[in-house]
Every structure is written in C-alpha cells, then in structure tokens.
Amino acid sequence: MVDKHDEVKKIEVDYTRLRIPFGPVHPALKEPVLLRVTVRREEVLDVDVVLGHVHRGIEVLAENRNLVQTLYLVERVCGICSHSHTTCYVQALEEIGGIQPPERALYLRTLIFELERIHSHLFLLGVMAHEIGFDTLFMFTWYVREKILDLFEKVTGNRVHHAMNTLGGVRWDLNQHMVDDIRATMKDLQKSVHRIYNFFQDKTVEKRLCDVGVLSKDDAERLCVVGPTARGSGVDMDVRRDHPYAAYTYLKDYFSVAVREKGDVYARTEVRLLELFESISLIQKVLEELPNGPIRVEDNVIRLMRRIPEGEVISLVEAPRGELLYFVKTDGKEGLRRLKIRTPTIPNVLTLKPMLVGCEIADIPVVVASIDPCMACANRLIVVDATTDSKKIVDMDFLRRRRQA
C-alpha cells in the first residue's frame, strides 16, 4: 500500500511541503507506477514518475524464442491492447518475408482492432468514473463493455488475449450468426454510448474534469505525445489515416479523426467518446464490405516462418492509446536478433509533470487516468553502454529512412 521504501515522508525545510509516494500499490492504479508527489496542503508542486515495476524482460526473452513463440509472448505485453501488439508484430514479419495476407484476413484484423478500441475506451471511461467517485457510471460502462467481450468470445474464443493473428492471416473466421450478433450489438451500443455521453455532461462530473490537467499544444508537440492525449490538445495525428495499414487503406474515407483544442481532461475524454462513435460506424462498414476468400496464406505456420529471411522493419499501428511502434530485426534462422517495442504510454507518461503541477491531490488519479496509462506497456529499457556512457536512441531521421511503406 503506501510504500515508504527507504525514504519516509520527507518534510522539507519549510515544514509545509510533504512528499507522498503515490503508488506503486494504490487503489486508484490498476498497475504499479510510482509517482513521488511533492504537495503543499492540497496543491501539487512537483511530480517524479518512476517506472519499471512491470519490467519483465520481454525484449530479452524474445531473442531466445522463435518467431511464432514470440507472437504469443508479445501478446502479453498488455492485456488491454493485446491485439494491437500482435498486429504490429505480424505486420513487420510479413513485410520482411514478403507475405501478403488475403483481403478477408485484413478486414477481420481491422474488425477485431476496432472492437478492441471500443472495449479499451469503455474500460477507460469506467475507470475515470470510478476515480471521481461516480460508481454508478463505472458499473454502467463496464456493463456495456461486457457485451463487447461476449463478441470477442464468440469470434475468437477468449475475452482477453484473443490470439487472432497468425503469420499470413488470421486464425478464426466469421459465420453468419456472428455477423448478425455483431450488427445487433453495434445497434445497442450506439444507444448506450449516447447515454454515457450524456452522463459525462453531468454537473458534478464537469466540475471534476474541466480545466484540470491542461496540456498545451506546444507542450504536446514538444513531448511528442501520441493518441487521444495528443488529439485532445489539438495535435491532429492518427496512424490509421496518415500511414494506413491492414484494411484502413480501403476504409480511409469512412472515418474521421476527432480533435479537440482545449487540452484538459474533459477534452481527452470527449475525444475518446467520439472515437467510440467512429469505431461503431467503421465496424458496420467492415461488415458490409467484408470480401470472401481465404483467411490465411498457408495453414502451416512453421513453413511460413522458415521462409522469413534476415531483415529489419519498423511497423506502426494505432493502438487505442496512440501510436505503437515495433522495430523487428530477424536473423533468417527463425529467430529474432532484436525486438524493440515503443508503446504509446512511454511518451504520454512524460506529460504527467506539466499536467499535474498546480493541480490538487484530488486531481492526481483523474489526470493519471486521462492519459490512459498502460503501465504494463511502458516498462522498457534503454541500453547504456557503461564504458563509453553512450545511449543509443532512435531519432526521426533514422525512422524516416527505415520506414518501409
């Protein structure tokens, strides 16, 4: 619970400043992160974010496993956006091996992607409601979310960790029952999301969410934030539109990107609510345009894996939290030389400092929830060479040179 570790609450010289450890074990946080918050009475003066509590060494483990085993390992980087991770990884491998999955597979990937976006945003809205003490909205949002998890179970067999992707396509196909179920659920969902939108415009909710945790557009661009956190501050970026992948190349004209200028918690929440509406209409479009055909290139995945030569690729997708980037370097012998995962939470978590300074203690869980932190995604290492004390960080030029369509 309250972690004092080696530093008990440090009372600074002027006796009004209190340093409180917020986390890593805290009822507001579902995942461990340590925020060392310096407060004076109720006002936050400084925040120090300490990550690393969920570091499991996935990138190291990936170097000792073959490509297909890594697919299932990479799915468990994060439970909420697991399909995004597998899609990104599998896209990278398909690029290296020159494998083109059939169109039906791309559409099915997109379908699960958008369903995951809906489930993740509903999750976040419920958690946000719980942080401000509005338990009834939390119960209602998660009740609606259960219907999406039912759909996942019908199509892929599991509520979380769908394992839908495989090298060269997807593993499960839709039959007419499932299509009808999805259509019916989307209709119900439209009404429920409207109700949730109205709930979020309630007076007490507005008082907690408006003008809190403001991130200006300059700060957002300087700190390179991604996803709804950026779109809530006026930065118009979305990988689905700017660098389309999977079926988004064909669906580019059927969705719009929601952007808000204000930059406070309410703006970010509103961006996510609007994205819910977009996702619902995208899913309905996908079901309309679903082409017939096979769902994977080859049934025997091991044979495909053996065909993948040495190569390196950077792959981008738009996970529910923002832009997810994978750098995959294969060694031509069914293994990986290097796997580097840059999840959207890593740049987003840096914004906690400019957002929280000047807020009250009561705003801390609300602001932390508004960037939609997925701490399990955000614990990566930077390799520091101790002899030369140099850090190798990938910069924009390198990315531009290496990004292959």
């Binding site: 619970m1 009822p27 338990d135 309630d202 008082k207 907690r208 869980p365």
Partner: protein, 314 residues
Amino acid sequence: MNTLIALLLAFPLVFVISLLFDGIDRKLHARMQRRIGPPIIQPLYDFIKLFSKERIVPTTASSRIFTVSPIFAAVASIMGTSILLANLMLRENTGGDLIVVLYLLAMSSVLVMVGGSSSGNPYGAIGFSRKMSMLIAYEVPLLLSILSVSLKINSLSYYDIISVQIAAKSMLALTFPSMAVAATAFLICIPATADAVPFDVSEAKTEIVHGPLVEYGGPFLALFKLAKSASNLALTLLATTLFFYLPAVFRVYALPGLSDLLICLVFALIFWFLTITVPRTIFARLKVGQAFKFYWLVALPLSVTAVLLSVLGL
C-alpha cells in the same frame, strides 16, 4: 431510574437498528446500479468478522491515541443516539438535551479525524486536513438550523419540540416557513456528516486510500464503522422528529406500545435513503474546495435565514 433502564435498553437497539439500516442502504444502492447487492444483515457479518481479526498498531503511530479513538468514537455516537431513542421511548425529556446530543455526534467525527492523523501515515494527515475543512463547512449550518428550532420553541430539550408538534397536531416544517427553511438546511448537511458522495472527500478511496481510516484494521475499523452508522441514524432521526414528526398528524402517540417510535424509525429510514443513498448513487465526488464553497454559499445562507425568520416570529 426509568432513564437508566431506557438508556440501557437503547444501547443494543441502536446497534441493531443502525447496522440494519446500513445494510438496507447498501442493498438499495446496489439495486439502483442494476446489481443484486449483499444481504441486509451484511454489516453484522462485517462487524463480527472485523472483531475477530488481528489487532495491528503501526510503529509510526502514537499508539495510545490510535487505540483509544475508535472506542470513544463508537461510545459517543451510540450514546448520542440512545439519548434520542430513550426520549422517544419514555415520552419525556430525559438523558440530555439537544446540545448534549449534537456535542456527542460532533465528538465522534472529530475522533475519526484525530485517530487518522495519529496513525503516522501521510494519507491520514491529508484526510485530517480535509475532514477539518468539511467540519467547518457543515457544522455551522447544522447548528444554526437547530438553533432556529430552539428559538421558535423557546426550549433546547428534545421532547419539548416533539410535544409542541403533538399539541398542534401538525408537523413543524409544514406549519412555519422558518422551520421549512431550517429543515432544508439540515437535510443538506446530512450527506457531509455521513461522509457520503458527493461530500466524502475525507474518506475518498481512490484518492487518499480511505483517508483517516487507512491504517486501521480489525476491531478498530469495526468500531469506527459502527460509530458512523450510529451517527447517521441519529441525524436522520433528528431530521424526522424535529421537523416532520408524523405521529402528531396520525395521533398515534396516544396508543400504548411503541408504535410512534416505529413510525419515526421508518421515516428515518426513508430520509436515510433520500439524503444518503440517492446522492451516493447519482453524483460524483466533489473536491474539498468545491464542497466547502457549496456549503458556505447554499447551506449557510439558508440556515441564517431560518434563524432570522424564527426570531421574527414566522
């Protein structure tokens, strides 16, 4: 002698009724959220289970204040409520007047605060300062509304106010405008005293990990929860009997037995539902500054108006 017997009878009665009302509140809260909810006697199971747990006193706590505050808080709350019940049972002024009851209820709130800050946990300290702000916010309107009733009736004794309603065969709040305003101010103050959302800043689970209660476990927690339930019962009972004494209208008071006490308890439950359960379900939590502003801008003017009106004779 009668007083002593009535008080001794009232102690276990308060225990049972407050836990029962707490259970009904949880059940209704769950039903409003489309869930099934715990059985109504769940708080009794919680109480017994908590008493059977290990007694832990943290090393950073001042142990004497830490261990003694829950006991005193529970005793103060139960005594305050028992005085009210004894008055209703014996149908005369016994035990103590309104000042004693309000003092005991305020004491139990302050002891929660003090116990929390004595635990040595920074979250306890934050809970202490928040509860202090809330006390300043809601105690004044609460006391002023009771003051306006006493000014009207020219007495501070509990049963005198009830006798006036019986003699007039009508409810106080419906006869005089000053009493209606005072009743509104009193009802607005109840959610803050009961630490119910939207005014439960001092015991926010997601922000400061239960505030003053963070390091309390086992029997201490059981006593604090009992203190809270008993004080909720006292406040709702005060709200019904001082302002809306229904048996006066039905003339049930003349019947033998305790049927008027039962009617008062049923109405206390209804007021508990309206002022504690419903706000808990439909509102989000306000911040300390916002809650403070609400009470000083809404409840305080109402109670001051009530005092002025009752002085003017309305």
